[in-house]
Symmetry: C2
Subunit: 495 residues, 2 copies
């Protein structure tokens, strides 16, 4: 572990990722051409608000930069330890966002900082936006914006179900019970196999959702964009009103797919292989459904009895917002800040739930909460019976104490970062609610928060330093804290 860091393999991998990113950028071109009906004058000039050339130039620059790195370092020694893993994971999200911001920057977005914030928000599947009028942005750029979600979601699934367990991060090893133990020398083939299996499900679900959305009247552009944002638990919409702009049918479709996106993808794999019993025996899944159901019912009933909303609308609004926040998607059909105070405070608390481990959802994660709750309440039993050994059980098995330690540490560090970050945001002049709202929403990869970054607001008015800091929080939260913190710790760099 403490051998020399193999930098060439790091650069080679990131080069490869940039090449892939560049190719993805070109996927937006058909929409750019279709919607803009380009004429010669516009193609020749970098007209703001027109996205053909920005996409082409960005795609080419990204592909060529990546290709150059890859070519130079393609003969890198393939030996990769956990150390290189931490660096690649952390760096790749940052570097990919730097390049991913190019289309927005060249396409006329308000400065590079805003473009970077939007891109990081996309790749981390946060969905916080600085756009004040989304509908004025051209389709090609919006499609790239939605694609960043989808690419980020792909990265997260593989990260959480194949890479992080090997790296020993965040107690995630609990989730790959069916995968054999860490064998760093076989890192590549294992990750590749897992990736293929899970990406198949991810692509399949995205396509099915697109069909359902188009069946409800969306065109291909809107259907794909929203399916990308749903399956990645991202939250970017193509409309200013988010999902409130669409029919109840579409809202229900998105609710269903948000729930699926916030589910551990291993369970989808099991379900596809007919092992439904195992799926419904999964404790995290049960707890996840209970949290969603219970919160939705409580909020729905309070809304129904305290507003003049019809019953179906009250339940739908409640269900949509609860699912959107818990899965950390961040789509909106109703401004929860206009609800009775008790309800939006409940929504705020749900921001500390997060999706299931092994899903595309961010935040603390249901699995960790469950382990923490269990362990805390078992402590009462341990005090009453001080000589008994009372382990936490999860899915019928005793959880090793090092996993409990890890999960607890995650929770504590999450809250410490939340507290300090809130202070820093307030130092930039934000009020109390906006400070805690923006931090909770970005660290948890949710998108909308409370205060001035609520569901019908955006992040445009956040000071520049705040945007960079929130971008950092997004990647910190997205990479399960430890991945980034380890790199920032002196112990990591000591030989």
């Amino acid at each position: 572990m403490q051998s020399k860091i193999n930098y060439p393999i790091i650069i080679e991998t990131i080069g490869l990722l940039l090449m892939i990113e560049g190719m993805f950028m070109f996927l937006s071109l058909p929409f750019s051409i279709y919607y803009q009906q380009p004429d010669l004058s516009r193609i020749l000039l970098f007209t703001p608000g027109y996205d053909f050339w920005p996409l082409v130039v960005s795609g080419a620059a990204t592909f060529i930069s990546g290709g150059t790195l890859f070519l130079i370092y393609r003969n890198a020694p393939k030996a990769m330890s956990k150390r290189e893993g931490y660096i690649i994971v952390s760096l790749s999200w940052i570097i990919i966002s730097f390049f991913g911001a190019l289309p927005f920057f060249l396409g006329g977005m308000s400065g590079y900082s805003d473009a970077f914030f939007e891109t990081m928000s996309g790749f981390t599947t946060t969905g916080a936006t600085i756009l004040q009028d989304i509908e004025s942005v051209s389709e090609g750029l919006l499609f790239w914006r939605s694609l960043t979600h989808w690419i980020g979601g792909m990265g997260i699934i593989v990260l959480s179900l194949a890479i992080l367990p090997i790296l020993g991060i965040g107690g995630m090893s609990l989730f790959v019970a069916e995968v054999p133990g860490p064998t760093p020398d076989k890192l590549h083939p294992r990750i590749t196999a897992t990736a293929k299996r899970l990406w198949g499900i991810y692509v399949l679900l995205t396509l099915i959702e697109t069909v359902f959305l188009m069946f409800g009247g969306m065109n291909l552009f809107d259907g794909l964009s929203h399916a990308f944002a749903t399956m990645a638990t991202g939250g970017f919409s193509t409309r200013n009103a988010s999902i409130a702009a669409f029919s109840p049918y579409i809202q229900y479709v998105i609710i269903v797919f948000m729930v699926l996106a916030g589910t551990n993808f291993t369970l989808h794999y099991l379900a596809l292989h007919g092992k439904l019993k195992e799926v419904f025996r999964n404790e995290e899944y049960k707890y996840y459904l209970i949290v969603l159901g219970l919160s939705s019912i409580i909020i729905g009933l309070v809304l129904f009895f305290n507003t003049d909303l019809p019953f179906e609308k009250a339940i739908r609004d409640s269900l949509f917002q609860v699912v959107s926040i818990v899965t950390t998607t961040g789509f909106i059909t109703s401004d929860y800040l206009m609800w009775p105070g008790f309800l939006w405070m409940l929504i705020f608390l749900l921001m500390f739930t997060g999706g299931s481990a092994g899903s595309t959802g961010g935040g603390i994660k249901i699995m960790r909460q469950l382990l923490i709750f269990k362990n805390s309440f078992l402590e009462l039993k341990r005090i009453i019976h001080p000589n008994a050994i009372i382990p936490v059980r999860f899915n019928g098995r005793a959880v090793p104490s090092n996993v409990i330690y890890n999960v607890m540490a995650f929770f504590v560090i999450y809250l410490i970062i939340f507290g300090i970050s809130t202070l820093l945001m307030s130092l930039m002049g934000l009020d109390f609610e906006t400070s805690i709202g923006s931090v909770a929403a970005c660290l948890g990869n949710i998108g909308p928060g409370i205060g001035n970054v609520g569901p019908v607001d955006n992040y445009a008015a956040i000071p520049l330093a705040g945007k960079w800091f929130l971008s950092f929080l997004m990647v910190l939260g997205r990479l399960e804290l430890f991945t980034v913190l380890i790199i920032l710790s002196p112990a990591f760099w000591r030989q």
Copy 2:
């Protein structure tokens, strides 16, 4: 442990405590007589605002009730296990508050709920008040109010340094290293010995502070009242303006004694025996002083550069409020809610610090924070070196993992209770800041919070159900959560 509960010994003990409480009530009579110069008509009638008869009747009722219970059960079998311990500790605080509220109730306070809230706030050394005009209340009652702090403080010292470690609560066993391990059959003599030793220090410090305060111009009544409230980290003052009503000299005296009151009393004992080296080697003490110093300097400098306060006043205001909040005293010399937002948010975060373990301070406690922080950051090392065993070290010794588990569980349960309670308070119609402020201040035994229960406000406007609920939070926080939660858990009552 799972034998039959020895109820007679529980009742006998509580009877004894009530007798002591009754006698303490009579201690207020000299002040009642001196300040009211009673005449016959007032003595014969229960004149509201006049406190002679309320004190006499309450004292007699409490003493006689306690005495009756004690006499009936004085032959109770002396066998006492941890089980009886949990019940006695939890019940005694509640029953003593029920009786302690009598003087206020009979003395004309706005209803029994208010009287109970004020008393529980006193005994738990919280210092949250429902009084809107403290100076209109007669001296006898105010003295009893301050005495509830002081009695509560006596209880807490013995509880945290002698009783809880034996009961295995909250990782407190770390602090009684010099005391031999649990020997339940020798519970009584050990607790008595510890109590005597520590109460001596408590009484001594209280007297010294009184002298210093009187030297600064306070009369005996004000001097004793404020010394009681300081040494118990309570926070009840006899003035509407709290300590802002007094000179800078008095403010500095109170700062010093708040710091002393928030220090582990074992350290005072060591210091008195000349073992100063051990005191300053104590990690919790160092961390405590660093938190106080650093926060005071930051806030003081920001205040100085952002307001027109003179330097000394800015530092003094900062120091006073920081020490008051961290030690969970709750005295006030400046309305921190009028400070720049960043500063009062820092103050709010400090509400989650708490005094030292083994002090009269409440809250999460410095010791727990230190262990949690250490363990969380060691987790980074553990991930980097997955095969190394890296224990948390405290005062040079490895901390057993069951203590870490316990401390982590405490922290998590504290936050869960904080979250749920905030929701419940908002359900009663309180706004966001008042909800989180009142819960943070009562669960942490601080007193002033944020929102409408800020430093220059009071708890009078909290709905009735809220007052009872906050009273429950005070005792829950004061008794280190577990003591109360264990009694509420079914496992405790199962044979």
